[in-house]
Amino acid sequence: MTIPRQTADARIHDIGYRRYEGARLGARYARYSLFVHSLRGAFGLGRPARSKVLPWGLFAVMALPAVIMVAVASTTGTDELLIDHTRYALSMEPIVVLFLAMAAPQLVSLDLRYKTMPLYFSRPITRADYVTAKFAALVGALFLFTGLPLTISYVGGLLAELGFADQTTGYLQGLVATAVLSVLYAGIALLVASFTPRRGFGVAAVIAVLTIPGFAVYPLQALMETQDSEGAIGWFGLFSPASLVDGIQAAFLGGTTGFPAGVQPTTLQGIASLLAVAGLVALCLALLLRRYRKAGI
């Protein structure tokens, strides 16, 4: 008869509690981690599959014209793309606004709804860290969202042997226009979303605030055209996010506006637009900081 062998090595060891003696990287690292976490969150990464459908679906729609443009250019052999790089994001504005309306509440409204704020503020980061991390994440997400299609069409354009110098200048100017748009739109959308813990409200409010000024500005500009006061058209451009970006790219980045009668902004109007963007972004950040001054434990 054999004695069952003692399986001494099959025990489960309870190693008990282990202390953490490693590095504690502090507030700057925490802010960076929050930035990465939020950037991933804007594209639904690290969340269930259904959170990924909308951002990636919108991105596919956003990138589709770029792919088609390149295909058309390479088959017809023209050396011009259908949409200027500097106006690409603007011509896709509804998609951009939809993406923001989804991403901005994802970044800030959920923290309010689930009352996660006390967990952040009981850690080394401050309110300003929270706001900058979230703002940077939304700007980054929007820049990727609008900039990647440009890159697709740029690379495609090079492969189709459109003029290298032209394409590169256009691409870089396009990236600058995209960056301006990203900073402005993200600031506004984040501020709007930070006021509601309800995602549905956030989505509706972001869409409304970003698009309604545009709906008001364009008819006014058209009215000015009929009144033969075309100089005022450019000035009216200061009053909506889309026309601000449009004015800037036309004044400084070699693009043309979508204003009525093809009016181009003067340099003075371009500078005013730049100042308006800077002022609006600063105002949004200041209001965001104010918004979170009371939020806490």
Binding site: Y20, A23, A27, H37, G46, L110, P118, R123, G296, I297
Partner: protein, 305 residues
């Protein structure tokens, strides 16, 4: 661990803390007070999240007014209310919170797995937290407060909303946080009874003022009373009176309370033997013998008188 000196916090309408001076050492300390007594305000000030109107507070030797960020790096906080996003798994969430506390990615993952195991969360840690029971949510909330291996955790009403079994599990978990993990605990509650068994030290505040601060042992020593109920016999038709007289002769004070119950002051361990022997000598049956402890209401009455 924590020292406050004349700590006062006034809001435009109310005074939340009023000259609070208290020392809290290592171990498990219960902070008791009714709703609005100033417990949450005290935690806020200790974490350096709001300035004190007057006075000062120090946590782990750091000044709360000036070194709040250093305190927050070494202290864990578990809020009273629900604070967990529903669409994220416990693992994902606690890793994120560990990184928010400054832990590098790999350390954050390891510590998360360890901590979730210690608080008793198993396979469900990979599922979205929206589907968790209250008990599981409380465990995750505790885990996120412990994940960065703090020197001190502040637990705000951790037993809120739990059923009696869940309450006991949470209390023994809190005990382990100190006994096994070596982390000091400040736990708030509006019930004195449930913290007596868990805490080494009890601090009672009311209206932002300190009522009491003493070790649980001395608390029960001073306030311990014994309630007994005896049968009547032919020799002693009124059993409780007979016992009272006999106890008085032995130098033990007993006072009649409701019905046949006698409340006996416990001045030392020998009292239990005297009571047992007295009842046995009289030939009476001991129907009931139980520890009586003061409830928070009595502490308040004492403070007012």
């Amino acid at each position: 661990m924590i020292q406050t000196r004349g700590l006062t916090k006034r809001y435009p309408r109310v005074t939340a803390l009023d000259g609070l001076t208290v020392d809290i050492g290592p171990g498990v300390t219960g902070l008791i007070g009714s709703n609005g007594a100033g417990k949450s305000t005290l935690i806020k000030l200790l974490l350096g999240l709001a300035p004190a109107t007057e006075g000062s507070a120090a946590v782990l030797g750091l000044d709360a007014a000036r070194e709040g960020d250093a305190i927050r790096a070494r202290v864990g906080y578990m809020p009273e209310h629900d604070c967990l996003p529903a669409d994220v798994s416990a693992t994902e969430f606690v890793v994120h919170m560990a990184r928010m506390s400054g832990l590098p990615v790999t350390a954050a993952r390891e510590r998360t797995a360890d901590t979730l195991r210690h608080v008793g969360l198993r396979e469900e840690r990979y599922r979205p937290m929206g589907g968790y029971s209250t008990g599981m949510k409380q465990r995750v909330k505790l885990a996120q407060a412990l994940v960065h291996d703090p020197s001190l955790v502040l637990l705000d009403e951790p037993t809120n909303g739990l059923d009696p079994a869940g309450r006991d599990e949470m209390l023994s978990l809190i005990r382990r946080v100190h006994a096994d993990f070596g982390i000091s605990v400040l736990v708030t509650s509006h019930l004195l009874g449930e913290l007596e068994r868990t805490c080494d030290h009890i601090v009672v505040i009311d209206g932002g003022r300190l009522l009491r601060s003493q070790s649980t042992a001395s608390f029960t020593e001073v306030t311990a009373a014994l309630a007994i109920e005896v049968t009547d016999s032919d020799a002693h038709p009124r059993g409780s009176d007979a016992v009272r007289a006999a106890l008085a002769a032995a130098g033990v004070t007993a006072a009649p309370t409701v019905g046949q119950l006698l409340e006996i002051e416990v001045t030392g361990a020998e009292v239990y033997d005297i009571v047992r022997d007295t009842v046995a000598d009289l030939g009476l049956g001991l129907v009931r013998m139980e520890q009586r402890r003061h409830r928070i209401a009595e502490v308040f009455e004492e403070a007012q008188s």
